[in-house]
């Protein structure tokens, strides 16, 4: 196994643990925005998609690259926007109680 691959595994495991620790503290009331926000973050694959689309040669590579960028951008833009829209609504309204 290459050193780069092992470094990748280290990063993966550490990030997963950090993720567990942080996300386990998210209250239930925010679980839907958590999911849509996480969804947007999984759109990080846009980086790979851009590389694939820009450096690919041939028709097939072009089609795959275009679809990859399109799908990832739906995730990124849609995910962050809809999460923002939801979170805007979560309010603590004083004086009720």
């Amino acid at each position: 196994m290459s050193a780069e691959f092992i470094a990748g595994i280290v990063v993966f495991v550490l990030a997963a643990f950090v993720g567990f620790e942080v996300i386990a503290k998210v209250p239930r009331t925010l679980h839907t925005p958590l999911m849509s926000g996480a969804n947007a973050i999984s759109g990080i694959t846009i980086v790979g998609a851009v590389i694939a689309a820009a450096t690919g040669t041939g028709v097939l590579a072009g089609i795959l690259g275009f679809l990859a960028v399109t799908f990832a951008m739906i995730n990124v833009i849609g995910g962050f926007l809809v999460t923002d829209r939801m979170l805007e609504m979560f309010k603590k309204i004083p004086g009720k109680r």
Binding site: H31, P33, A52, T55, G79, M89, F90, K92
Partner: protein
């Protein structure tokens, strides 16, 4: 330098997610995560420009415009009640994008891939393809395009096991023989598996399915990160994988079922059609409900999927306002699996301007029912079914429920006596202290409000 910039993006994701641990900081957190994404995108573009090679920027720009446009359109137009469908669809696009990145790597590789790259490539293809098609079946079920009941493929779960085995064998062949064809076969089988695995899962189990597919979309992204040797993808993907897994486990615990039993087993109740509807119930109309509510001191509202279907979140809030004006304390009890995705009810009530500190968890709500005069159950069924506590033969036995039967009176707003998706009869409906108000949720709440105003 590039690696450090990607690291910064990863740190921004973590800081952003940390913001989501409180409703006060959540919006800023989401924006910090979005900033991390912007950093990553700028870095990759700058990096590519630095390559000084002829690049197909036209394709990138076209994808950004088309994808960004579709994403923005969906995010702005979606109704809050349709949020589970949208999240399901976004999961699918995320998984699909990662599979496509891996596919492009297969097409573009001219040398034999190192084994570890081949393994992560096949994982990215297979997990991404399952996520893509599984999410779209989940979307279809939530949108009502695909039947939300359990639909089994011919041969049932045996067929799924065979398809899964086929995908693993094909992926293994792809890895060891460096065969692109084998990769495509594995991807195709995984895509079929996504369909045939999600079709047999009933609507009420969707919170688990969506959470799991969310996790998969992250893992697929992380695997794609290994394929192209990019740490931003690995960090982002691992975070999302962890988030989805936490939610999946939490949903399964809230149903007292294992993830495997939700995904792979038939689930159903013993109640037959003849059973239901023969026992006497206390029928109530809007006036009866209004009197019970208006003369209470403490009212707890228990929303369920029926509230979302009827788009009754604003009607609930209007009714609660009227009760609060009469000096009545109104709170909301939210079961973790109420609705079709984690936190579904909380978002709907937030949309209706219900203050989030009035929304009580299972653990917070249960001790309070005995001091509650009226529990108003709107479109919820299995999560308030006392047989989960008392009937060992019940399929939901052991599931933590909201103990609404501890309250002095329970008003159940429901279209009819028909059992929920699980086909389980609910003894709550036949209790002396339960009033059954048969109506559409929104109509019922509006009529009850009118009756309270007329008192």
């Amino acid at each position: 330098m590039t690696e450090l910039a990607y690291l910064a993006a990863g740190v921004l994701f973590i800081v952003g997610l940390k913001g989501l641990t409180s409703p006060r900081t959540a919006r800023r957190g989401n924006r910090i995560a979005a900033l991390g994404m912007l950093v990553a995108i700028v870095v990759v573009v700058v990096d590519l420009i630095g390559l000084d090679a002829r690049l197909a920027w036209g394709i990138v720009i076209a994808g950004v415009i088309v994808g960004g446009g579709i994403g923005a359109f969906l995010a702005i137009r979606v109704q809050m009640t349709d949020m589970p469908q949208l999240v399901a669809a976004f999961n699918g696009f995320g998984g699909g994008a990662s599979a496509l990145v891996a596919a492009a790597a297969v097409v573009g590789s001219h040398a034999v891939m190192p084994t570890e790259t081949a393994v992560t490539t096949s994982l990215s293809l297979v997990i991404g393809a399952i996520t893509l098609t599984g999410s779209f079946i989940a979307f279809g079920k939530l949108q009502g395009i695909v039947p939300s009941r359990q639909v089994f493929p011919p041969g049932g779960q045996t067929t799924n096991a065979v398809i899964a085995l086929g995908a693993v064998v094909a992926a293994g062949f792809g890895i060891f023989a460096d065969s692109a064809t084998a990769y495509w076969i594995a991807t195709g089988l995984a895509a079929i598996l996504g369909v045939t695995t999600v079709l047999p899962i009933g609507g009420a189990d969707m919170p688990v399915v969506i959470s799991l597919l969310n996790s998969f979309s992250g893992i697929a992204a992380a695997m794609a990160g290994f394929v192209i040797g990019n740490q931003a993808l690995i960090v982002g993907g691992a975070l999302v994988g962890a988030a989805g897994l936490i939610l999946t486990i939490e949903m399964a615990v809230a149903m007292n079922r294992s993830i495997a039993s939700i995904l792979f087993s038939q689930f159903g109740g013993g109640a037959t059609a003849e059973d239901i509807g023969t026992k006497p119930v206390n029928r109530a109309n809007a006036d009866d409900a209004a009197i019970a509510l208006a003369y209470a001191e403490r009212v707890m509202i228990v929303p369920g999927y029926g509230l979302a279907v009827a788009q009754a979140q604003h009607a609930v809030k209007d009714l609660a306002n009227a009760l609060e004006d009469r000096g009545i304390e109104v709170t909301y009890a939210i079961h973790p699996v109420a609705g079709r995705m984690p936190g579904h009810m909380n978002v709907l009530l937030a949309e209706a301007d219900v203050s989030y500190d009035l929304l009580l968890d299972l653990d917070q709500a249960n001790p309070k029912f005995s001091q509650t005069d009226v529990v108003l159950i709107v479109g919820a069924n299995d999560v308030v079914n006392p047989s989960a506590r008392t009937d060992e033969a019940s399929p939901i036995y052991g599931m933590p429920i909201l103990n609404v039967d501890d309250a002095r009176t329970a008003i159940v707003v429901k279209r009819s006596l028909s059992p929920g998706f699980a086909g389980i009869d609910n003894p709550l409906f036949y209790e002396d202290t339960t009033l059954m108000f048969f109506a559409d949720a929104k109509q019922a709440l509006e009529d009850a409000l009118a009756a309270i105003d007329a008192l």
